[in-house]
C-alpha cells in the first residue's frame, strides 16, 4: 500500500517534470522564431538611403538641392556611385529614375528600396535675335538664372534693365557680349533704353520634371 503510494508520487513528479521540459522547449522555440524575425541586415537600408541622399545633395549630380542634373546623372557610373556613397560598395544596387534604370550592379531582387520624389532638370538654350529700339521690352517665357546678350557693333543701346533694375549701362552704347544673372524666382523682363540695336538674347532656362528616384540595395 505505502509502496504503491510512493510510486504514484514519483509518477506525478515525472509528469510534472516532463511538462516543465516541454514548456522550456516551447519557450526556446518561440525565442528562436523571434530572433529569426529580428535578424535582418540594416546595412541594406542604410546604403540605399545614403545613395538616395547623396544623389540629391551632391554638387556633382544636382543643379541645386533635390534637383538632379539630367546630363550629370545619366553619365554616372557604378564607380562614381561608390565614390559618392561609400556604404554601397560591394553590394548589388539598382538606381531607377521615373521607371528607367539608370545604373545597375548585380541583380538586386529583394533588399531595401528607398524612394524619393525629385526634380530632374535639363539645361536648354533658347536663342532669339531681335532689333530693339528705345523703350523696347522683352519678356523671357521661362525663368532662368543666366542671360547672354550680344549687341551688334552699331549699337545705340545705353541701358539694359531687368525688371526695372539696371544691369548694363554704357553712355557710349553697349557693344559686344554680356552675361547677366537675373533672379530665378521671378519672370525676367528685359528693357532697353537709349537707342536702337540688333541684339541676340540667349537664355538658358532649366526644364525640370518631377520623377521618382528609386534606389534598391541588396546584399
Amino acid at each position: 500500500m505505502t509502496a504503491a503510494r510512493a510510486q504514484t508520487n514519483l509518477l506525478s513528479l515525472a509528469v510534472a517534470l516532463t511538462a516543465l521540459v516541454s514548456a522550456t522547449t516551447l519557450g526556446l522555440v518561440v525565442a528562436d522564431g523571434a530572433l529569426a524575425g529580428a535578424d535582418r541586415d540594416p546595412g541594406e537600408r542604410r546604403a540605399a538611403s545614403a545613395v538616395a541622399e547623396r544623389l540629391v545633395s551632391a554638387e556633382a549630380t544636382t543643379v541645386r538641392q533635390n534637383v538632379l542634373d539630367r546630363s550629370a546623372v545619366s553619365g554616372l557610373s557604378v564607380a562614381d556611385l561608390d565614390a559618392l556613397a561609400a556604404p554601397v560598395a560591394n553590394r548589388s544596387v539598382r538606381v531607377r529614375i521615373a521607371g528607367e534604370t539608370l545604373l545597375e550592379r548585380g541583380d538586386p531582387t529583394g533588399g531595401a528600396t528607398v524612394e524619393r520624389v525629385v526634380l530632374v532638370a535639363e539645361r536648354t538654350t533658347r536663342s532669339r535675335s531681335l532689333a530693339v529700339g528705345d523703350g523696347a521690352e522683352l519678356t523671357l517665357p521661362r525663368r532662368t538664372d543666366r542671360v547672354e546678350l550680344t549687341f551688334g557693333s552699331e549699337s545705340g543701346v545705353e541701358t539694359v534693365r531687368i525688371n526695372d533694375r539696371i544691369v548694363l549701362h554704357d553712355p557710349g552704347g553697349l557693344t559686344g557680349r554680356f552675361v547677366v544673372q537675373p533672379s530665378r524666382y521671378e519672370t525676367t523682363t528685359l528693357s532697353f533704353a537709349g537707342g536702337t540695336a540688333r541684339v541676340v538674347v540667349e537664355s538658358t532656362p532649366l526644364r525640370a520634371e518631377k520623377a521618382t528616384l528609386r534606389v534598391t540595395v541588396d546584399g
Binding site: T2, A3, R5, A6, N9, L10, L13, L17, L20, V21, T24, L28, A31, L35, A38, D39, D41, P42, G43, R46, S49, A50, E53, R54, S57, A58, E59, Q65, L84, A85, A86, P87, A89
Partner: protein, 162 residues
C-alpha cells in the same frame, strides 16, 4: 492494553522517507540539467545573437546621425549634435571610433562587432574621434574656409557647450 510501538521494530516509516529523498534528488538533478542546458548553451547564444543585432543597428544609427550633422553647402559652421547610443550591448560597455572614414564598433565580446563606411561630402576634410558608451556622445562639426571637420566627442569634453 496494546503494546507500545517501537521505532526499532517498525520499518514502515522508512518508505516515505526514501520516496521523498528520491523525489528531491530527481528534482535537484532536473534543475541542474536544465540550468546547465540553458546557461551553458542557449542563453549565451541568444545574448551573442541579440548583441550582434543591436551592435549593427547602433553603428548604423550613429553613422546616420553623424552624416545628418554635416550641414548642406556650408563650411563656416560650428554645431554640436547629441547622439543616443545604447548604454551597453550584451551587458558590457563598448566603444565607437572612426578609422579611415569608417565607423567601427569595438566590444569585449568577439561576437559583437560592426562597421560601416560613412557617406560624407567631399568638403568634409577630416572625421575623427571616439565614443565610449558610458559617455554622453556628441558630434562636433566645425568648419573654416578649408573645409568641415567632424569630431566624435563627449559632452563633458566640450564643457557643456550646445
Amino acid at each position: 492494553m496494546s503494546r507500545t510501538p517501537s521505532l526499532q521494530g517498525d520499518e514502515r516509516a522508512l518508505t516515505p522517507a526514501v520516496g521523498k529523498a528520491l523525489e528531491i534528488g530527481l528534482v535537484v538533478l532536473f534543475i541542474g540539467a536544465l540550468t546547465t542546458a540553458l546557461y551553458g548553451g542557449a542563453v549565451p547564444d541568444y545574448r551573442d545573437a541579440v548583441g550582434a543585432e543591436v551592435g549593427d543597428r547602433a553603428v548604423i544609427a550613429a553613422a546616420e546621425r553623424i552624416e545628418n550633422a554635416v550641414p548642406p553647402g556650408a563650411t563656416q559652421v560650428r554645431s554640436v549634435h547629441a547622439v543616443d547610443l545604447p548604454r551597453s550591448i550584451r551587458g558590457e560597455n563598448y566603444g565607437l571610433r572612426v578609422e579611415n572614414r569608417t565607423l567601427v564598433l569595438r566590444h569585449p565580446s568577439p561576437a559583437v562587432g560592426a562597421e560601416t563606411r560613412l557617406a560624407l561630402p567631399d568638403r568634409v576634410e577630416a572625421v575623427e574621434g571616439e565614443w565610449r558608451s558610458s559617455d554622453e556622445a556628441v558630434v562636433l562639426v566645425s568648419g573654416d574656409t578649408e573645409g568641415v571637420r567632424v569630431e566624435l566627442t563627449g559632452r563633458k569634453e566640450l564643457g557643456g557647450e550646445r
